[in-house]
């Protein structure tokens, strides 16, 4: 029996209120990550995958009122309701962040070395000198060649892949227990994407961190993650170990997504497989299953009540009554 999960989210709901509208980008989602584990959260834009991870840590745009309910526990400590000053202490310290676009995540007018050292000074109370030494260590850790010279460079002097390595070094500077990577390879080329994914996986194992990998790309999941949550329209459609979910997807949405990826054996010029219809716009919560209009298995009952996430077998949970109980029972 392993210890308690490092991050445990249960029944999280996020409501966003702007001057004009109210939306619910996250609607009753639960998941957990243990130390040394990587959880992939997969979904399309607007599925709530980013808000779900950022809102509890206070990373939301200004001008939006964020209302949270449910529970988010980091090392047993409840984050919801915690004052902003306390949450600020966690950001960068217990939780490291990696963002999609390394150029906008870095300060363009400060040297790489300073940007990494600053984190160590702030979160580990290091002297500037000790922090510089730590920066050098971190730059070596993320596999940057000629580390001493790189520390004196500015972000614009580096390529996209190197910048993302620097962002990873900054995220690691505060010795986080949890790393949240939001589309860390989306802005990179396939060749560099493979390098960065391998690096992330490597540091995560080496430092025994928990990692949440937020992505829209099923392709990056298989090599990096242990478990997966598939999000659709603010809710979890399917959850389980990667080895099971990617090989034997149960939820019609997960099946559709995986089926839509072109395969080697598809003949040239063959029609592309995809899902019909459009993903729903972010709006008020649905009464039934939000996937109903695009689903080939839907029965009338699907649009009446929200399908619960039920355990299928092993550790796989699926929110589809038709899959779980058959057409007739649903």
């Amino acid at each position: 029996m392993r210890n308690e999960p490092l991050l445990s989210v249960s029944n999280l709901t996020v409501n966003l209120l702007t001057a004009k509208s109210a939306v619910r980008p996250v609607d009753g989602v639960s998941y957990s990550v243990r130390q040394g584990e990587c959880l992939a959260i997969v979904g399309e834009s607007g599925s709530g995958k980013t808000v779900m991870n950022f809102a509890p840590l206070g990373l939301m745009p200004t001008g939006v009122t964020t209302m949270l309910s449910g529970s988010v526990k980091l090392e047993g400590r409840e984050l919801i309701g915690l004052p902003e000053a306390e949450i600020q202490k966690l950001r960068g310290k217990s939780v490291g962040f990696i963002f999609q676009d390394p150029m906008s995540a870095l300060n363009p007018v400060r040297r790489i070395g300073r940007q990494i050292a600053e984190m160590a000074e702030l979160h580990l109370n290091m002297t500037p000198k000790a922090a510089e030494a730590r920066a050098l260590e971190l730059v070596k850790l993320v596999g940057i060649s000629d580390p001493a010279a790189r520390l004196r460079q500015y972000p614009h002097e580096l390529s996209g892949g190197l910048r993302q390595r620097v962002v990873i070094a900054i995220a690691l500077a505060g010795e986080p227990k949890l790393l949240i990577a939001d589309e860390p390879t989306t802005a990179l080329d396939v060749t560099v994407q493979a390098q960065i994914l391998r690096l992330l996986k490597d540091v995560q194992k080496r430092l025994n961190m928990a990692m949440v990998l937020i992505t829209h790309d099923m392709g990056v999941v298989a090599g990096a993650a242990d478990n997966i949550v598939v999000m659709y329209a603010a809710r979890a459609a399917e959850r389980g170990p990667v080895d099971t979910v990617l090989v034997n997807p149960r939820h019609p949405y997960t099946r559709g997504l995986i089926n839509a990826i072109p395969r080697r054996e598809d003949p040239v010029g063959a029609e592309f497989r995809g899902l019909p219809g459009l993903p729903p716009a972010l709006a008020a919560p649905f009464k039934g299953c939000a996937f109903t209009p695009r689903c080939d298995m839907a029965v009338p009952a699907c649009s009446l009540a929200r399908p619960p996430l039920e355990q299928v077998d092993g550790n796989v949970f699926v929110a589809c009554p038709v899959v779980n109980h058959g057409k007739v029972a649903a």
Partner: protein, 335 residues
């Protein structure tokens, strides 16, 4: 193919002045490609390899510094004024981001109407009929005509952008990453639209993308570009089955697998480093600085394109061996 190419690009070169004084960025360097009528052709490579600049130079969004672009055998640089504008209309560009390529303040109808007016269609009822026909072709219901483009989803906007470029009856579409800004579940819909347009209207399409699997399935032939040069070209199936340039081999091998059983056993090689600066490209073969098979001869001269089989060639001294499979860039790396 006995047909004559609808678009022929000969020894095209596009270079930009570098911020370093007296230096040039060689974005596209001596590239020749051909497109036959009704054919989808892929152009793949890493960012910074010059694939977008090539596309933009073909339609005249960038000024090529040397070389020729021939449309139906007519050199565009010999044309000017109305004749040039008319030829240019036959070459249309579909941009990556449908959020910035359309005017938010226009309705869908206005956006398409504008293209029709430029094409010289004066009669309003004829324009209306044509707008309806175009929306139908791209799979949009005609009620969207009165909606503002900002009200539409990404997939719908890209359809409007495509309808707009089809409005002037183009012979060739240059599509620059047309689906990478779209959500996974609707990419297939737009890809199928391209397949259908090619079948129904016979429009030739140069499909610029970094998603290799997508290109393989859509394109009958594929060009692989690296640092301003075409390094390999061939029928898609053949090229993907027998990549014969070390770069193509490594590029294809770096695409991730969705199936975890395959992915976890695939401790394959990784491409080392990143694409060098096009301001100062390496001498000889441009890939030699990252190539596991590079020898001294690679630095001496640019390797010629070696013909491997019908319509398949690669610019590498070892192309024949790589094609036969007696050597591989991947085997060396893994060792």
């Amino acid at each position: 193919m006995n047909l004559s190419p609808v678009l022929k690009v000969e020894n095209l070169q596009t270079r930009f002045k570098s911020v370093q004084r007296g230096k040039f960025v060689h974005a596209v360097d001596d590239v020749s490609i051909e497109l036959f009528p009704g054919e989808i052709v892929g152009l793949v490579g890493e960012s910074g390899c010059g694939k977008s600049t090539l596309g933009r130079s073909i339609v005249g969004l960038e000024k090529a510094t040397a070389g020729r672009v021939l449309l139906d055998g007519v050199d565009l640089s010999t044309l000017s004024g109305a004749a040039l504008r008319k030829s240019r209309r036959a070459l249309q560009y579909v941009f990556q981001d449908p959020y910035s390529s359309l005017n938010d303040r226009q309705t869908v109808g206005e956006a398409i109407d504008e293209a029709l007016i430029i094409d010289g269609l004066r009669d309003p009822t004829a324009r209306e009929r044509r707008t309806k026909e175009l929306l139908d072709q791209v799979g949009l219901v005609s009620v969207v005509k009165d909606r503002h483009t900002r009200e539409l989803s990404g997939g719908q906007r890209q359809r409007v952008a495509i309808a707009r470029s089809l409005a002037v009856n183009p012979r060739v579409l240059i599509c620059d990453e047309p689906v990478s800004a779209l959500d996974l579940s609707i990419r297939a819909q737009v890809m199928n639209l391209f397949l259908r347009l090619q079948k129904d209207l016979g429009v030739a399409c140069l499909f610029i993308a970094h998603d290799l699997a997508l290109v393989r399935q859509a394109a009958s032939r594929t060009y692989v570009m690296y640092l301003g040069k075409i390094v390999e070209h061939g029928p898609s199936q053949e090229l993907y089955d027998h990549p014969s340039h070390p770069y193509a081999q490594m590029l294809l091998a770096s695409a991730p697998e969705v199936d975890p059983r395959i992915e976890k056993s695939r401790r394959g090689p990784l491409m080392i480093g990143e694409i060098p600066s096009p301001t100062n490209p390496p001498s000889g073969c441009r890939f030699r600085t990252r190539c596991p098979l590079a020898v001294d001869a690679c630095a001496q001269a640019l390797p010629p394109a070696i013909s491997l089989s019908a319509d398949h060639d690669a610019s590498c001294l070892l192309a024949a061996e790589l094609h036969r499979g007696s050597r591989s860039a991947l085997a060396i790396q893994a060792a």
